[in-house]
Symmetry: C2
Subunit: 151 residues, 2 copies
DNA sequence: CACAATTCAATTGCACACAACTAAGTTGTA
DNA sequence: TACAACTTAGTTGTGTGCAATTGAATTGTG
């Protein structure tokens, strides 16, 4: 027989799996659009953060993107090699590395402006649905963070 | 000034980013729970599929998990090395590889039964919210797939 | 001032995830 | 039957993502 508990467990697995699958489907949607910009999706997220905030340290970028230096260091080196950002030690605190957009990196913003519209269309969702989805995801992330830090 | 279009674009980026972040937060929630089972999260998903469906070819498993052989082949080799599954060529169609649970893999199901409950608690969401979230994600994935295949 | 604790970035090792390709087997068709 | 087209797994190369560690710089405390 099927108990209510079984149903919850099945549901949990379905949600986990759906989240995993959707995240990858989103990546896949972006990939061809970002090929024109020669950016991967995580690189695009880093550029978005820099376009919005101007200049950030690696630490700050890690807080915004929720990524650690193990992920960011090589990613930023690739962006630097592509001529989009500069990395330099802070004079005020030699531990920190400041990431700045180059003129080329700044210029890429114009080319990238066309991307979100096309992705938005691809989702097939209206503004209200998107707002709700975002809220669900943020609430979920916050709950998971809280449960994780409570260990 | 801020146009309605700007708002949509910002929202798009927020949704993408939230999805990315939530997916990783979910992984992080699972990681310590799965350490007891010596499974990574994708390996756990593969085991879930096998526990549910019994025996699957690599192809079928790829359809269920939405993963290709480039991801599955090494993953399944690790599960085989851990003694959880057997891989053997199909006699009926030598192209196919059939993945079967070993007794040890079947036995792990009992130990894994405790995992979803704890994750479910960590999400802090009720059954109804979970159902809604899952529906949103599935609709989103379907829309992204449709847009992708229409290229 | 001295020195332990902390902070920050980078590196190493491991495991996905996907693109592009290869190799082997099967199917369809002239 | 021959042989082209297709299917299925596997391999290689690149790029995340995270754990654990390292090394350098800063901060806090006696």
């Amino acid at each position: 027989m099927t108990t209510a508990s079984d149903e919850l467990l099945r549901l949990d697995n379905q949600v986990c799996f759906a989240l995993h699958a959707t995240s990858r489907a989103f990546d896949a949607m972006y990939r061809p659009l970002l090929r024109d910009l020669d950016l991967t999706y995580p690189q695009y997220l880093a550029m978005l953060a820099l376009w919005e905030h101007g200049t950030l340290t690696v630490k700050e970028l890690g807080l915004v993107l929720r990524l650690d230096s193990g992920t960011l260091s090589p990613l930023l080196k690739r962006l630097e090699a592509a001529g989009l950002v500069r990395r330099e030690r802070s004079a005020r605190d030699e531990r920190s590395v400041i990431v700045t957009l180059t003129a080329q990196g700044e210029a890429l913003k114009r080319k990238a402006a066309a991307v979100p519209r096309r992705v938005l269309d691809a989702t097939g969702l209206g503004p209200q649905e998107l707002v709700e989805l975002r809220r669900s995801l943020e609430r979920l992330t916050a709950a998971l963070d809280a449960a994780g830090s409570a260990d």
